[in-house]
Amino acid sequence: MKNIKYIIKRIIIGVGIALVLSFLRGSFLIGVSAKEVSSYNWGTNQFTPLVSTPSVDFTLTSDSSLANQNGDILFSFSIYNNNQNKVPIVNNVRVYSGTSSFVCNFGTVNNSSSGSYNPTTNQTTNGQTAISYSVVCPVNLGSDGLTRVGVFFLPWGQSSQEIMTITFSPYFSFIKDNDSTQDIIENVNDNTEQQIESQKVCTIYDLTQATFISTNLDANGLPFSSSNFNTSDFISISSNDSLSSLSIRTNNPRFCFYNINKFLVSCDSVTTANSPITIPSNASYFRYVVSNKENLPTYKLCKNGNQAIADSQQQINDTLNDSNVDSSSSEGSSFFEDFSDPHGATLSDIISLPLDFVNSLNNQCQPITLPIPHFGDITLPCIKSYISQFVSSGLINLISLVVNGFLVYRIVSSIIDFINQLKDPNNDDLEVMDL
């Protein structure tokens, strides 16, 4: 009972500490937030007006709390016609603060029958279903706050009156402009991004170290003779990159471009050193094809800064996500080679024997060969594989289940005993050698 009380007490203390840390973390996050984002309710979110004029206004019932606020209002709404396969097209949207109005910017329109398009450039009056609009409105609200939303339509000409339904998403967001410090930071970031974008990051590839996969035709059907060689790697490339050969060799080098599925797009022979190679617009990879791998050129690939950074990050991600550990054992063991003791048996060999024992538990079963004088060698096969020749696998599994179950039970019991030893913080009697 005492132990249970102690554990409960510790849990309560732990939860309390976690709550305090969460609160502090949240406070810090709010403290460093660049912009304040708030959500507001429209109140009524669905309107069914009779439209006889190409505009309709919606008076809002709330949001005087936004008085004298500067920022961006974000909201979305959908329009569909009740009785015809025609949807009125919005020309523009305005939000009002008293008599002041602010024109909103459209996001992408999603029409389930026509896909995504921008309503300001590609509008149609024959939509089969509702059209959804996402709107961003930069505003400098006055003392009245947000009072009205006006939706102005293109005249559709076939009917002067249409019954339609406009459904506003229940909430809109207001992103409050922060102080000018954030604007300065954003400007600095924008300028930095532009500089990175304008900078070219070039890599010079020296194919003298390249490996080759085949002397035959390319796996994707390259129309070259068997004397051509393909470098083994597909190198990612885009039409925004620049590619040039730094030298001309006599082995008829060619750049071959592939699409995203690594199917051949085209090949381009190198005729002039340092001249740019035309990259097809749909090229995603390229390889260098030569007819003589003993006489290889070098070439230069330049990407813009952002793309180079993205490629580098992708390469790091690929490395981090690579779960192949086939070579890790040999590579890891090589690290410890210099630590081996070359001076014969020493004290450390004896001290580390328990660890060697535990480590040897993972050894695979090997048949034991015992040399018996005057009798020859006796080989003891691995019991499990030997018995499996005579006994059904079900019985072996049953025996294995019983043995492992008993052993695991003892292990778990020992864990509980071990934890019980740790329950008293005032007890220093932790005997490692007794464990």
């Binding site: 550990v325 890790s328 054992s329 890891g332 063991s333 410890f336 630590f339 081996s340 003791d341 001076h343 014969g344 048996a345 020493t346 004290l347 450390s348 060999d349 004896i350 001290i351 580390s352 024997l353 660890l355 060697d356 024992f357 535990v358 480590n359 040897s360 538990l361 993972n362 050894n363 695979q364 079963c365 090997q366 048949p367 034991i368 003891l380 691995c382 019991i383 499990k384 594989s385 072996i396 025996i399 294995s400 043995v403 492992n404 052993l407 695991v408 292990i411 020992s414 864990i415 071990f418 740790l422 220093d428 932790l430 490692v432 464990l435």
Partner: protein
């Protein structure tokens, strides 16, 4: 995977033990060669014995998962007291330093 990690941990511990005992090891191997031979006999005996552990484990029908659990528990039992004692030592030093 877990076995590889545990093997790596054991190798690190063994290497650390080697580093810490380097002066004593050099003393034994250079100035007490008889003692080194005696230790070598003990080491060789156990090393030879350990080569049969795989056969013994196979004969007991113990699965590799259970062995991994056993090794993990053993590792935990070694590391947890070490970590606790380290924290206690750090706290003790802190109390010594605080006036």
């Amino acid at each position: 995977m877990i076995n590889s990690l545990l093997s790596g941990v054991f190798k690190i511990i063994t290497s650390l033990v080697n580093v810490l005992l380097t002066p004593i090891n050099l003393l034994i191997s250079n100035y007490l060669p008889e003692l080194s031979s005696a230790l070598g006999v003990v080491r060789n005996f156990f090393t030879a014995s350990f080569t049969y552990i795989g056969w013994v484990v196979d004969s007991t029908f113990i699965s590799s998962e259970t062995i991994s659990l056993l090794i993990a528990v053993f590792t935990m039992k070694l590391l947890v007291p070490l970590a606790i004692n380290t924290i206690k030592l750090a706290i003790k030093w802190y109390h010594m330093l605080v006036p």
